[in-house]
Symmetry: C3
Amino acid sequence: MQFAGSHILSIAQFERPDVERVFAVADSMEPYAHRRRVTKVLDGAILGAMFFEPSTRTRVSFGSAFNLLGGEVRETTGFEQSAIAKGESLYDTARVLSGYSDVIAMRHPQEGSVAEFAAASRVPVLNGGDGSNEHPTQALLDLYTIRKELSARGRDVDRLRIAMVGDLRFGRTVHSLCKLLCLFQGIQVVLVSPVELRMPGDIVEQLRAAGHDVLESEALESSIRHVDIVYSTRIQEERFSSQQEADLYRGRFRLNQSIYTEHCEPNTVIMHPLPRDSRVTARELDDDLNDNPNLAIFRQTDNGVLVRMALFTLVLDVAEQVHRHARDVNWYTGGRFDGL
Amino acid sequence: MQFAGSHILSIAQFERPDVERVFAVADSMEPYAHRRRVTKVLDGAILGAMFFEPSTRTRVSFGSAFNLLGGEVRETTGFEQSAIAKGESLYDTARVLSGYSDVIAMRHPQEGSVAEFAAASRVPVLNGGDGSNEHPTQALLDLYTIRKELSARGRDVDRLRIAMVGDLRFGRTVHSLCKLLCLFQGIQVVLVSPVELRMPGDIVEQLRAAGHDVLESEALESSIRHVDIVYSTRIQEERFSSQQEADLYRGRFRLNQSIYTEHCEPNTVIMHPLPRDSRVTARELDDDLNDNPNLAIFRQTDNGVLVRMALFTLVLDVAEQVHRHARDVNWYTGGRFDGL
Amino acid sequence: MQFAGSHILSIAQFERPDVERVFAVADSMEPYAHRRRVTKVLDGAILGAMFFEPSTRTRVSFGSAFNLLGGEVRETTGFEQSAIAKGESLYDTARVLSGYSDVIAMRHPQEGSVAEFAAASRVPVLNGGDGSNEHPTQALLDLYTIRKELSARGRDVDRLRIAMVGDLRFGRTVHSLCKLLCLFQGIQVVLVSPVELRMPGDIVEQLRAAGHDVLESEALESSIRHVDIVYSTRIQEERFSSQQEADLYRGRFRLNQSIYTEHCEPNTVIMHPLPRDSRVTARELDDDLNDNPNLAIFRQTDNGVLVRMALFTLVLDVAEQVHRHARDVNWYTGGRFDGL
């Protein structure tokens, strides 16, 4: 894959060497993201952040990633009501707005809209989520987190053992993650969900075609015994076809510290795409896991900054220059990322 | 006109030498806007962008223009509900907010509000549109585009031949453009509109008083035969006094490639203030013109950045310093502005 | 108080030497805030401005203060609807968002929310107002203004004579100011309000326990004769228990130029937390005071920038480095802060 000048629209664009390249660059971003060093490699460059759908964390993560490289951010949030009400095409919007920045990060509620926008854009576009379709930077940060957590445990993505738990039918993030895992070897995947919310058959097929072991289950406890990663997702009750069905499963996929202690191997990593539902009736990951050092959910969002920095430097072709424009941080940082 | 420290509120402030000065500076901004060079001339300066009415493209254009000069942007969008609900005067708002920045770009739905704000402001204010009253940077970017497109064809604004098409009665941009054209010489203006939406008489008078030829017409095809520029604007059906009247004109002012080929001179430039309505029932400029190199509508919005950069450097009196704080761009730009 | 790495949540954190330290640093910020010098001491640092409640002036003041130190600002305004609707806890929000910046300024409608957020944040949090609870930077800028205005008149906060006028019962700013005044000595406080809106007894007690003279009154004119400062606040009619009560007091606490001339000492300073209600029926400070050089209300908001710059440099521990990263301003500033 030729990164310089490319749009990042879908994980389908990535072959294994591309993923490895992104991750290697992400690794090299750590001194900057963790506030030991400052780089100004993109000093003078402008990111156009177009969030036509609200998403605070994705928006701020992209913006901060660009600031951390020394660039400026011009944001648009909410629908561009006036222009859309006046019948402006996505083509026109893209032609105009791409004249105002060097790269664009875009989120849009409509499937395929980001690709349509990118086709008319004069600068690289990074997909920040287009409806239920794609959210490639989330998939990459998930896989990057898996790799990094395993690496700290002396292991690798190849031969990973992972349990995906919850709503596997509608969960966009687990679908994308499975597709990325097909680029690796010898993975054991346990898919834990209510029958109604099973992983779509075509994705299970892709995993098997890639040579991976796939097991499907409805029981949480037995499924998380021999895995490196538990990737938990939310189950929304309205996804079930009937209330009886929903009642049947209520609470059966919730992980807490006592279940973890009893059933998981000592270093099993817990992930979640966030936001996590912390209401008593709904939580999929209990708050009592907050002090568990294997809870990686906030390292995931931190890693999102690294991955987005990496993608920016790659599409703008400055990955090799980052360290040349660098110096030490001169303000108080308080060891905030120590132990990560 | 003394630019340093001045507010830019109305095109009525501009004499011909002022316009020439803005355009000369805008020309010199091209290496920065087109991403060959980076300047930091306004490094440390702050633009307060106050958009009390939504306008994505104008807001982002002002913000990016300021970033391209090295400055920072603090934005406010939507109504300042709390303060206004509490009865704060525009005077107080201006006194307070002008303490937070070095220059202000402001859009406000109410006619005259930006001038009222400017009177109390301690820093220069650029009018980004106050209701149906003034939008001077749009008028300047339109004229700048005309000048630039003509110059590439070996011609000048003096002796320009232009057709303005569509709603000439309510279209703020064509009114302002006509006033600016009065600063030039020997222009032929063809005004093409439904009878109900004719150019106001006082503006026609001003054009004639400036020595220009003015022709009014209801027929598109015959009016665009011998012009350098076709400036098209939208006709909103609700502007007509009756549906019969609207039906009478539907589609009669739409330009497409076949009409262009049949009736226009080979290099006739097509302009539009945007947004362009791309719905099938309403389009004033057909999508099949998108590949026509004479379609200048996106060069117009690009030029808006140059003109706004020029105004910022002039009111902040740094036009002469821009090149001193400059260096080459170090990231991938992919020849994005080639051929413009 | 150890500033480096601390949250600034409440004025209760401040002892007198802490206040003195903040004010000394604020003084040293003047060349930068008043646009004679530019500093880049926080070049590369990111402020996360989280305004979960609208407040244009506080938000822009924090943002500009950070920009004036050379840092970048990533803003979030309005409720984070999606995440909150999905049941995310303030703990999770804080853990995630604090990974995206070096310091956070936060406003939230709910009392105690900012402290709860800060407890989970990995970076220093500055409280920009949490409901009716605390707004420490407003209290500090008020006291800083008092100190600065008095200093220009050869006086000091010790032995200050101040009249607080208006709604003293619900006015958060006067409560906080009284608490800060308890750190100083020999102050005479005249509390002027309708009976129904008297200062809460515990605050009066605190003032007296600090050795201050406190006088309560319902009459404006006689109360402002021998004071250094008149601190006026708004009275909202809906605060009264009956319309008769409200009618009784209407207009009795409004200050205008003729009352000022007749009753105040020549140099009495007029302050107000803003926004000031400028509707004819409601104004607490008449517009005819606008040219009175002792009207300090806009110097108050200007001082807010200085105080916030000071707090940023203190919690990020760069106060000593500010001047090392400085140079002269190179753009037109027009003596905008002359005579302040």
